[in-house]
Structure formats: C-alpha cells, structure tokens
C-alpha cells in the first residue's frame, strides 16, 4: 500500500523524484564508473571462500592425520630439494656436506593440489608420491627418508641406487670405487635390477614394450661411458668424493642466478662453480682424451630418448596403478631411481662437454665474465621499469693497432600508441669512450624498412664497405624517407647540455642527450619516440684493447634475447695480428657453442681480415671474443691526421721488456685490504677480489699480518682488535667472516681512508703498510675528488703507505683514483682472467720501472707529448700509453728513461709516423682529455670541452646533445668553447699544472669559482641582492665551507638477516621500492646506519641522477641524517646549478646540521639569482621565510660566530616580512622535474584549500601553484580553527621519464610556526599514478 507522503508514483523514474539540490549529487554518485579490476578482485576473494567443507567421518580423520604427518615429512624433504633447485639467494653457501646436513628445515609453499594428491597414495604410514612435471620436482619419499639433505650414492654391482645421508658417512667399503665414479659409472650397471616389475594392476603390453625400449637406450648410453668411468676415482674415502660431485653439480646448476657473494673460505673450486668464473680444473683422467664432439652429441640424443621413454612409462604407471601394493610402490620407486640417474647422466654429459670445449679453447685467453643478470646491451627505458623492444642490432668493429672502434646500430620499436620520451642506456666495455651518437627519429609504421637503401642513382654499398666506414659516413647511406630525419649529436659542455635539453623538451622540440653517468654506463635521453614506430640509434665508441696472457682482446657482449636480426662484423689488419681467433663464447666457462661456431675468417680487403656472423630469429647470447697476438707486442702504434692538413697524431702502447726481479726487501710486513662491498661490486667483481686477496696472502710470504677493511658508505674492520696472522688458520678465519654477506650500498672511498688513518686497534706510527685496493674505485658517495681525497689522506696518515690497485676488465675502473693513490709508490696491475691471477698476486713484489722521462728522437718533430696516467711506474708485463703530435711523417724512436732495480735504464721503441689511421687523432685527444680531467680543476672545464668538441669525446664535462638545427646550437650558445684549445704545447702545460697538484684549493676559493661559473647563467653577483652574498663570503671562514662531518657505521649484512630483501632485489635491481621498503624496515628496527646503506644503493644503481639523489636526500633527512643528506644535495647542486631548488635542499640539510653559514649562503643565492621563469617568484618568498626562520634559530642557539650572528641580525632587520606566525604551515617539495604535484588541505569545516581555491574564509592560504617540478607549495593559516586539518597531495602532471615513474614528495608540517612552541614533522609520500591523491596526515587543533 502506498504511503500518502509518497510524492510520486512508483513508476516515476527515480531521478525525477529528486529535488535540484539532491539530483546533481546523486548523479555524481551514479556516474562513477565501477572499478572493474577491483570488482574482479573482490569476486575472486568471494569465490575463494569456497563451498563449506564436507563433514569428515572418523575414518577420514585417521587418514587425515596420517596425511598430515606424511605431508610434514614430504614437505621437509620436498623443501630441501626445492631449496637446492631454486637457490636464488645472492649469498654464497659454502658449507661442507656435513654443515649443510644440519641446516634447519624451512617453511615452504604447499598447495591444496599437492595435499590432495598425497591423500590418494597414502597407506599405513608409507608414502610414495611422484609429482608430475608441473611441480618441477620429482620427489620420491618413503617412511625411511631422512629429512635433511641427502645425496644419491650409486652403488656398484646390481645394487639399486639409494638415498644416503649427505653427512659424509663413508659408503660401503666394497663399493668405494664405484661411489667415487658416481656420475661416471656405467648406467647399464647402475640400472641393473631396474627391470620393470609389474605392479598391482599387472603388466600391460605397452609397459612391456616401453621397458624393452628403455633398456636398449640405456644399454646404448652405457656403451659410451662404460669403461671410461671404471678407471677413475679410487680409495675408501672416495664415497665422499662421489657426493661432492653431486653437490658440485647442483651448485653449478645454481650458477650465478642469485648473484651470490663468494665464499672466501678457501674453496676456490666451489667458488668457481658458484660464481661462474672460468676455472682450469685438472681434467679427469681417462675421460677427456676419448671424448669427441660427435660422441657427446650422440650421447645427448640417447639421453633425450631415455627421458622420453621414462616419461611415457611414468604416464602409463600413473594411469594403471590404482591403490597401493608393494609392487606398485616398487615400480614407482624404480622409475624415480631412473629419473635420478638421468639427472646424474645429464650433469656428467654437460661436464664432459665443458671439458671438451675447454680443451679446444685452450689457446684462447680466459677472461672474467660479467654477471649475466646485468644488461649487456643498449636499452631504452620508458618508465615503470619498461623498455622498448630491441628489434635488430648491427655491429661493425675495426681494429687498428691497440685500439678498436665499434659502431652499434640499434633499431628499437615503440609498441605503444603514444609518443614517448625514453632513456637510452648503454653499458660500455671497460675503457671505452663514445665517439659518435645519432638517431633517426623514425615514424609510425608497420614494418622495419631496409637499413641501407639505394639512394638516387647510387646502388646500396656492400656490407663490408659499410662496416669500414666512419659512423659519419655510414649515416649518409641511410634512406631518410624511410627512417626519418637524421639527428647527429654534438659535443657541448655537460651542464649546458643538460639545461638546454630540459629547456628544449619543455618547448616540445626534439632533442636528445647522451652523457656519462658514472661507472661504464653512458645514458642518453631520447625524445620523441614515435608511437608504433621504429627508432634508430647509432652509437660508436672507441677503446684501448686490453692485453692479457700475451693476447690482445676485443669483447662484445651479445644480447641475450631474440632479435629479428643481429649482425656482427669485425675487421683487423692481417699484418698486425698473428693467429687471430674470433668466437662466440657463452656461459660461465667461456665455452664456444658447437652450433654457433660458424665464424669465418677471410681476407676481405687487401690486408684485412674480417670475421662476421648473422643471427636471425635466434637469441645470440654470450659474447664475441676476438684475440690475437700483435705482430710487435712491445710497441703497437697508430698514426693519422685530422682532416687533410692537420698535424699527424701518434698513439702508441709500449710494453717495456722488464725482467721479473723480485723485490729483495719487502716494503711492509703488514697488509690491509680495502675490500669494496658496495652494490656495484655485485657479484662478479667481488668474486675476483676475494680470489685476489686469497692469492696475494698465499703468495706473498713476507706479509706476516693482515686485516680487511670492508667499505661501502661506511667502513668496518673485519677484525677490530688487531691484525690476523697470515697463516692458513688466520686466512680461513678472516675469510669465513665474508661468507654469505650481502653486497649493498654506495661507494665512499673517503670513509675507508678515514678508517685507515685511525684504526680502532694499536698501530705503531711509522709502521709501513701495504694497502691493496680491491674495488673499481668508482666513488658514488662522499668526497669524489680523487686528488683532494689522496692529498688529505697523505697529510693525515701516520704510516707510510703503498697502494696497489687492480684492473679486472669487469667494467670501467676509476683511473684517476688509481693514479692518485699510486702516485707515491705502489702500482696498478691487471688481472683480466684466471690465468693472470698468479702473476697479479705477485706483481706488487716485483721491481718496477719508475719512468722519469718520455721523449721522441729522430724523424719528424714531436710536440704535445702526453703519457697516459702520467709518469707512472711500469711493472714487468705492464704497459705505458704515449701520444704525441708530429709535423710530418717518417721514422722516429720513443725513448723511455727511468730507473729499474736501482739502475738507470733507457728503453727504445722505434716507430713510424704515417697518416693511415683514422683512430689516431681521437686516441691522442682521449689521453689529453683524461690528463686535463685528472687535474680536477673546474677552471679547465671549458678547455676540456674544447678538446672534446674538436675530437668528439664524451667525458665527465662534455655530453652529446642533439638539437633540431644549427640555429638552436647558436641560440643556446652551445659551442662557445669550440676551438679554444691550448695554443702552446699541451704536454708542457699539463706538466706545469701537475706540479701544483697536491696543493688542495681552499674551500672558500673553490666555492667562489663555482659562484663565478653560476653567475654567468643566473646573474648572481651583479644583481640587486648580490651585496648580501658578498657580505657572507667575506664573513665565512674556511671551516664554514666544510661539509658537516658524519660517518655511517660500517658493517656486514648477512643474507640470512635480509633474505626477503635480497630476493626482491635480485628480481629487479632497478626497483627503487625494494630499497625504500628495506630502509624503512631497518629504520623501524633502529638500524639507521643500515637504512642509510640500503638507501645509498639507489645512488649506486643510478649514479648522477638528480632525482635519485634528491629522493635519497629527502629520506636521509627523514632519518635525521642531515650530514649525509648535505653531501648528496651538494652533488645535486654541482650537477644542476641552474635550479634554485638545488640550493634550497642543500640549505635545508646544512641548517639541520647547524652549518648556518653555508646554509645562509645558499639561501642568499636563491634570493639573488635571476632564475628561469618556470621557477615562480613564490619560491623566493618561501625561501626567504625559511631563511629568516633559520637565522632566528641560529641567533637563538648561539651556534655561530659573533660576526655571523651580527650579520644575521642585520639581515633580519632588512627583511620586510621575515617570518609570519602561523598555527599551521605545510610545505611540500618533490624530487622530479617537469611534474606537477598539488597540495590540498581540507579544513575542519570541509573547505578544501587547493590551487583553484587558494584563500579560504577561515584564513588558510596556499602559495602559487608550481607546475614545472620540485615545488615548493605551501599552505599556512595564521589562526587555526578547532577541528581536524587533513593534508593531501595530488599528482596532477606526470613526467613519463621518471625513476620508475615515481615522484617522492617531502611534506613538512609545522605547528605554531614562528613561535616558541614551533614543532615540525616530516613525511615522505610516493606518488605513482597520474591523478593519484594521498592523504599525508591529519592535524588536530
């Protein structure tokens, strides 16, 4: 019955019943689209509640209990197996079999399906379960199974294989020999007695057939290994060896998957297995000689056949056996035994394959290999961890003398429907420097056009001719109608390049930028990448090829993914290369693959050898390794001229012939190993370092005592009480402590040197020390100026020290640091592979030649003579690179004068100056640039840029920038340095400058220089506010410029304490969220230093990225670590001096560290600067208030000099509106450029104060909207209303090219600002998606 109050009929559409007040609101509610994803999720959750469980009868209860017990047994066993199979932990596990047997059981996932399966097979407490292939585990278990690690021991005769405790219990004495041969034993013998006995269901015809089939395959397999295994192994103790074989196999399977830290516990063979390091293990007797590739192939085929048969049998078994009888159990057990043996055979065959490969490759030098988990080829990241698809790759290499130029032509596809900006990252090989960068912008199209098309009348050139071309010539053969317009990079000053790039991106024009980001990675930002289009990026780099084991090596890592096409071609001069080999190596052992050994060496052009290979639709994987013995190993020279009329440039690698004369008297009996445990060492370089450490200690008997100083962002002595004795026990003890550590954090060399200066134990002053630096030396944290670092160390250290550094070929080393450290003794040695380990470990004991002078005599006149790495010491087997300019051609001689073993020596190297090398001029310039950069004086940056521009070199101070046209380069005045090189002799100029080294520039002077540079851009020192800066500069003392002191406690983290984090990290090392989460966890557990270490890993992974530095800086401020934050913000300031926020962040960190003087200077720079108009005036207003607040605090706390206090007082007087009082003040800043984050505050009455409603009735006011990145935005209310204020941030504009697409917003909430009751709290909020709103906090009044 209808109520009389009903205003409308029941048939009226509901919305018409509503008044105008209600309708819009209801419409809005109804208009909201259902979040489909969430709905699906909710429904799934609902379904998972499932039907109610049926009630169980008593009988089922009994079975249920039995099942639970059985499941527990199985769980533990299955787990162990799974654990062994998975083993993702990036930590070494080098326990012996006995140790691992006591390993505790862990919990493992166990799903319902598995449980159900068990229920069907359980009978009176004995379980026989074979999981199918879905489970990826083939577990056999019985009631007698041990619940700890076990190994399969293969008994001789007709005994069946059995599970034996892995605790190293000896096998039966009578079967010792067969046990030792476990993996090699005759399978037919092993399988004797495995004849299939029919189960409860009776034998079926198919089973009988299958049986005979299998037996024949087994027999065939056995024939091959029969007899060969019989002679191997011996003795009663060999049961243990058999088991080790198995364990070794499993470890080998694990390989480097988790990137584990090596054990240092003196088990080199195991290290090799776990680290994928090539090891020359002694071949097993009797096996190697008889094996041929063909036999191995046949064996593989047979094994595959056996596996097939076994699978079929298993399937039959599963179908036919119902219920549990003795015979069915036995059948299953036997089948499982066969499977186990198949595994053993597989492992043995792989082993034999490796041995055969090693034998074949014996002549090729062995080198360390990089972690396969790391990217080895170019990628274009487009945010959120996504990258563009690499469609094809064409690589052409030319080798001239000691140098090579590689041109890599990439084609990427953007499968998205929208235009993108991407980050092109290229992991360069050690010592390489980019020489050319260009891209074709491409267009939206379906298919890949031809790489080189007929152009007009000209037919396309043959591939060989193209391979020989310079990149500049090469791009002229690309059809621009297919590929879009060519845009070539030009070298401009790095800082200008960055600013211009960002300016141009904002203007929506099309720039690209390639710059050095630290380590051996060069990063280019590419814009625009057309939707559904193909982009072509061409990069060329040149490098000095390393010399290892009397071979000159060239390596090119191949992408480990399938490409449409991959082409590689390498050309070298036949006359310069003796016995050249070129092969594709793959895997940890650097073994060429049989099916990929199709390279062909042939004379392509007069005097040239070409190696080429094309992969189509197959993943290339591994790396190309070219090796040859130079025709004149003692002097390799190239010479050529730039242009037609320029001078001749000569570049020569000299290898003086020095006898290995052992240094009679050791320099020191004490040794310290500075062992880098930062993330970048992970894991391959660390493995090499540990091997080196062991080898040095074992080899140099004059080292009586040693200690290890581990460092990342903090440093810690391995033995804080004193030195270890260099005995087997001492070494074992020390190295055991390194077992299973997690490599993490950034690299701070200064903290390590500081610890070395003041060890926590007694170290007599004046006692000499050998210090071995086991690190790539790339500094990503703390003091980065190598010269300043070393100079400070030399001033403070009370002990005479000699540093020894090592190059490994695993990525770029910091040559500047190595050279600075070894300037006064010590040396830099190379250890490119296993074979060089022995020599490298002894190298520091050899007499070295101290080179005093290098000159050219006879022939054309030489000038600008440069020596790479200055006049360093040359050790036997070492090399020296000399470069010079000549005014003509002809024969000349390099004279190397110096001292060796206490005697004056002069070595002569005759060479010829010609004009035939195209690589020589740039090679000379590379030495010039490196020498100038080694001076570490920013005054020379323009000079370095000039050389970089003239010769096409990307360096610390110069980047490649691609702009649309010539006018743009002029508009931004980007080439003002061009041509401004030294008029006189560069060699003499650098020598003069070097003589001044070691005199550290006063900090005040350095800062003034910096200001002068910034002044050119933002007019700091001549504007109306400049007087304040000058006043401050006059008032500040030298100490005021020092960065706040603060160190992070060093320490080692073991995997067992951070398992989840390590696993997450291994899954995606670039995922910033993993580090942030772990940092939060540690901070909550009061391990602030640990949290800082984890955070610093972000910097190690993204060195030099402003947003990463800012993000970590904000987090450090949250963690009350302003001193560390100040260091990071100081880096940001140097990188991005054109952004006022760089100064503001730095000032905040300094203020919190109570370094008011330098903080004030930074605030003044913000106020005085004439910044880009995208930084709104509001910024200055906020900065001024913050500055005023800081000065008031400084005066109140009396933490400044009287001069500074007076200055602050005067400054406060001059400020019109120093700092208003506010009950509530909320300020946000964020770490990313070109993003718009909005601050919203909901007042107690529900009024929302945001950029559209920025003045509320109750007095709340919001500052001007910042739409171009960084902030600040600020809300404040003088008199807060009673109630709750809700603070929110809203992600309005997203820059697609961000660190994982995220923006980290730092929110500071201050109550009662400007009053004595002032209280502040900081929050950090992560914004990921466009339009995301996050509530930060509620503030109650």
């Amino acid at each position: 019955m209808m109520d009389d109050k009903t205003p409308s009929s029941n048939n009226t559409p509901p919305m018409q019943e509503l008044s105008d007040t209600l309708r819009p609101a209801v419409e809005q509610v109804r208009a909201a689209a259902l979040p489909a994803e969430a709905m699906e999720r909710a429904i799934d959750r609902g379904q998972r509640m499932g039907p109610p469980p049926p009630r169980r009868s008593r009988r089922w209860l009994v079975y249920g209990t039995a099942t639970a017990i059985a499941a527990a047994i199985l769980l533990s066993f299955g787990l162990w197996l799974e654990h062994k199979e998975r083993s993702p932990e990036p930590v070494a596990r080098y326990q012996s079999a006995a140790e691992s047997s006591s390993e505790p059981m862990r919990e493992a996932p166990w799903n319902d399906t598995k449980l159900a399966r068990q229920e069907t097979t359980i009978t009176d407490g004995t379980v026989n379960t074979i999981f199918d292939s879905e489970d990826k585990l083939k577990v056999k278990a019985s009631s007698s199974i041990h619940t700890r690690p076990s190994s399969l021991v293969i008994a001789g005769g007709d005994e069946k294989p059995r599970i034996q405790d892995a605790g190293g219990k000896p096998g039966q004495p009578g079967t010792g020999e067969a046990q030792a041969n476990g993996p090699q034993a005759d399978p037919s013998m092993m399988n004797a007695g495995l004849g299939y006995r029919s189960g409860g269901g009776g034998a079926t015809p198919s089973r009988a057939e299958l049986k005979s089939e299998r037996v024949s395959v087994e027999r065939e397999l056995g024939r091959f290994s029969d007899g060969k295994g019989a002679g191997t192994g011996s003795g009663a103790g060999s049961g243990g060896m058999g088991m080790m074989g198995m364990n070794g196999g499993m470890m080998g399977m694990r390989g480097m998957a988790g990137g584990m830290v090596p054990s240092a516990a003196g088990r080199p063979a195991k290290q090799a297995a776990d680290f994928g390091l090539p090891k020359d293990r002694p071949p097993q007797s009797g096996m190697e000689s008889a094996e041929t590739e063909k036999e191995l192939l046949h064996k593989r085929e047979l094994l595959e056949e056996l596996k097939k048969v076994t699978r079929r049998q298993e399937s039959v078994l599963n179908k036919t056996i119902i219920g549990q009888t003795d015979s069915s159990r036995l059948a299953k057990k036997q089948l499982q035994d066969v499977k186990d043996q198949i595994k053993v055979l597989e492992s043995r065959i792989s082993q034999l394959q490796s041995q055969a490969d090693r034998k074949r490759e014996k002549k090729q030098p062995q080198v360390w290999h990089r972690d396969r988990g790391r990217p080895t080829f170019a990628r274009v990241y487009i945010g959120d961890g996504n990258s563009l698809e690499l469609v094809s790759l064409h690589v052409s290499v030319i080798i001239e003398g000691p140098r090579a130029r590689t041109v890599v032509d990439h084609i990427f596809r953007n499968p998205n429907d929208r235009q993108l900006e991407g980050t092109f990252e290229y992991p360069l090989p050690s010592g390489a420097s980019p020489s050319y960068f260009a891209m074709f912008l491409g267009q939206t199209r379906e298919t890949v056009p031809a790489l080189f098309e007929r152009r007009g009348e000209n037919a396309p050139l043959p591939a060989e001719a193209l391979a020989r071309m310079t990149p500049e010539e090469l791009v002229k053969h690309v059809d621009t109608t297919d590929w879009g317009r060519l845009q070539e990079g030009r070298i401009v000053s790095k800082e200008k390049a960055l600013e211009t790039y960002e300016e141009v991106v904002r203007g929506r024009i099309d720039p690209a930028l390639l710059e050095y980001v630290g380590g051996n990675t060069f990063s280019g930002r590419v814009f625009p990448i057309p939707a559904k289009g193909y982009n072509r990026v061409i990069l060329a780099y040149e490098e000095l090829l390393p010399f290892a084991q009397e071979h000159m090596l060239y390596r090119f890592p191949l992408p480990n993914r399938k490409l449409k096409e991959m082409q590689f071609s390498l050309q070298a001069k036949a006359a310069e290369c003796v016995q050249p080999t070129c092969s594709v190596t793959r895997g940890a052992n650097a073994t060429p693959l049989a099916e990929e050994r199709g390279e062909r060496g042939r004379v392509s052009a007069p005097g040239n050898i070409t190696f080429s290979r094309t992969w189509k639709d197959t993943p290339p994987e591994g790396e190309v390794l070219f090796a040859c013995t130079p025709a004149h190993p003692d002097v390799q020279t190239i010479s050529g001229r730039q242009g037609d009329n320029g001078p001749r440039y000569v570049y020569a690698r000299l290898r003086p012939s020095l006898k290995n004369v052992a240094n009679g008297k050791p320099f020191a009996s004490h040794a310290v190993f500075l062992l880098d445990t930062s993330l970048s060492e992970h894991p391959e370089r660390f493995a090499v370092n540990v091997e080196l450490l062991q080898k040095i200690l074992e080899t140099d008997r004059d080292i009586k005592h040693f200690n290890i100083l581990t460092f990342n962002v903090g440093a810690a002595w391995l033995n804080a009480k004193g030195f270890f004795d260099n005995t087997a026990a001492g070494r074992e003890k020390a190295l055991k402590k390194l077992d299973g550590i997690v490599l993490e954090g950034a690299t701070d060399i200064s903290c390590a040197l500081d610890k070395l200066i003041a060890p926590p134990f007694d170290l007599e002053a004046g006692k000499p020390l050998n210090v071995f630096l086991l690190s790539d030396g790339h500094i990503t944290w703390g003091e980065s100026d190598a010269a300043a670092l070393v100079s400070r160390f030399e001033q403070q250290c009370r002990n005479p020290v000699r540093f020894y550094c090592y190059r490994t070929g695993l990525g770029e080393e910091n040559s500047e640091l190595f050279e600075a450290l070894t300037r006064r003794g010590g040396g830099v040695f190379q250890c490119y592979g296993e074979a060089e380990l022995e020599a490298a470990a002894k190298a520091h004991r050899s007499e070295c030649m101290q080179v005093q002078r290098v000159r050219f005599v006879g022939g054309p006149q030489a000038s600008d003579v440069l020596v790479s790495g200055r006049l360093a010491a040359v050790y036997p087997g070492g090399e020296l690179v000399v470069a010079a300019r000549f005014n003509g051609t002809g024969r000349t001689t390099v004279l190397l004068e110096g001292e060796f073993a206490g005697q004056k020596v002069v070595q002569e190297f005759p060479l010829e100056v010609r004009s035939d090398s195209e690589l020589a001029p740039r090679a000379w310039a590379e030495v010039a640039v490196a020498s100038l950069l080694g001076l570490h004086d920013s005054n020379f940056d323009a000079l370095v840029t000039a050389y970089c521009q003239q010769f096409g070199i990307v360096s610390r101070v110069a980047s490649f920038l691609v702009l649309e046209n010539e006018a743009d380069y002029k508009r931004f005045n980007l080439e003002e340095e061009r041509g401004r090189t030294i008029a006189g002799d560069l060699g003499e100029f650098i020598s003069d400058m070097w003589n001044q080294l070691g005199k550290r520039m006063p900090a005040a002077k350095a800062f003034e220089r910096f200001l002068n540079q910034v002044d050119k851009r933002v007019n700091l020192l001549n504007g109306p506010e400049s007087a304040h800066i000058k006043q401050l500069l006059a008032a500040l003392t030298e100490e005021d410029y020092d960065l706040p002191a603060g160190s992070i406690r060093g320490g080692l983290v073991y995997q067992k304490n951070a398992a989840g984090y390590v696993e997450d990290r291994e899954r995606d090392r670039r995922n910033v969220g993993v580090y942030l989460a772990e940092a939060r966890r540690r901070a909550e557990a009061d391990d602030v230093d640990g949290a800082v270490r984890v955070l610093s890993s972000i910097i190690e992974e993204y060195p030099s990225r402003g947003d990463a530095l800012r993000l970590v800086g904000y987090r450090l401020l949250d963690l009350q670590q302003p001193a560390q934050a100040a260091r990071l913000f100081s880096q940001v300031q140097k990188q991005r001096p054109f952004e006022p926020h760089s100064y503001r962040d730095f000032a905040h960190a300094l203020e919190q560290s109570e370094h008011y003087g330098l903080a004030a200077l930074n605030y003044e720079i913000i106020l005085a600067g004439n910044w880009h108009n995208r930084f709104r005036q509001e910024l200055k207003l906020v900065a001024q208030e913050e500055y005023a607040h800081m000065m008031q605090e400084a005066i109140r706390r009396r933490h400044t000099s009287s001069k500074l206090t007076n200055l602050f007082g005067e400054r406060l007087e001059q400020m019109a509106r120093p700092q208003p009082k506010s009950d509530l003040r909320v300020t946000i800043s964020w770490n990313t450029d070109a993003t718009d984050v909005d601050l919203w505050v909901i007042e107690p009455d529900g009024t929302k104060c945001f950029y559209q409603h920025n003045r509320t009735q109750s007095g709340g006011e919001l500052s001007q909207d910042q739409t171009q990145g960084y902030g600040p935005e600020r809300y404040q209310i003088a008199k807060a209303q009673p109630g709750v204020y809700t603070v929110l941030v809203h992600y309005f504009g997203v820059n697609p090219n961000l660190l994982g697409g995220e923006t980290h917003v730092s929110v500071t909430v201050t109550r009662f600002a400007g009053t004595p009751q002032e209280r502040s709290e900081r929050h950090t909020v992560i914004l990921k998606k466009h339009n995301q709103q996050v509530e930060v906090c509620k503030v109650k009044f």
């Binding site: 109050k5 029941n10 209600l22 208009a31 909710a42 529900g1246 339009n1331 709103q1333 509530e1335």
Partner: protein
Amino acid sequence: MTDWDRIVRDYGPLVFATAWRILGHVADTEDIVQEVFLQVHQLQRTHTVRHWPGLLRRLAACRALDRLRQRKNTVSLNGHALVDRDEGPEAAAVEHELAERLRRAIAQLPDREAAVFCLRYFDDLSYQDIAQALHIRTGAVASALHKARLKLETILLETVQEKT
C-alpha cells in the same frame, strides 16, 4: 563451477555495485563484498535462501552504510576519480566533493532511510524490490524515502550555506 562460485560470479557485481555507490572507495568496497559473502556463506549453511539478490542487496547496503558511518568524518582518498578523468582534475575534485558530501549526509540518516534511499536512487530499485530486499512494506519504503529526501536536502543546503 560449484554452486557457490556461481552465486558469487552472478551476484558479485550486484553486491559490489551497491557497496561501491554508497562508499565510493575501492578498498572499503572490496572489504564489504567480502564481509557480505562471508555472512551469506555462514547463513546458507543453516538457512535456505529463497531470493539471493534481495538478501545480498540488503546485506550490501546495510554493511556499506555501517562502514560509511564509521568513516563519516574522513575523506575518501583513493586513486579512483569518481568522474571521467578527461574532465580534468579540477572538475574531478569538485564532483568528488559533491558526491562525498552526499555520502556524509547519508551517513547521518537512520538505517532504514539510508538503505531505502541508496537502493532507490543509486541502484534504481522499484518500491517493491526495495520492500522485498529489506523485508518491509511498500508503504514503509515510500515513507522512509520521503523522510530521507527531506533530511538530505536540509543537510546539503546547510553545508553549502556554511561554505558560502
């Protein structure tokens, strides 16, 4: 597919939609859906359900309103905009606010009025359907709707006046 799966699959969207419109918050809605099905799951073991949609709607509306009342002083802050994103964040913010205000007002109504209002105007149910779902008479539905509308209008007008 088991019966339970079918029930959840068939009526899950209905439950979700009812709760979503009342709450406008993804996580809360998901929780409510789970609560509702959990409750129904227990219920159906002891009772026979004759009219699934009615029962589920009632439970969804009641649970969602309970949740709404629990958070009547808070603001919905999840990532889902309540309107088409193309309109821009400013418009989204304004509209979001209107809907939120209505929800807060609904939270102040008595149970029956709130439930009736939501089922009628958010879910477009007829009086009969509402009566069936809530086990009340059709007249009671009309009466409750009338009261609800009046109260809501008053509350909304007050809010607007306060703001201006």
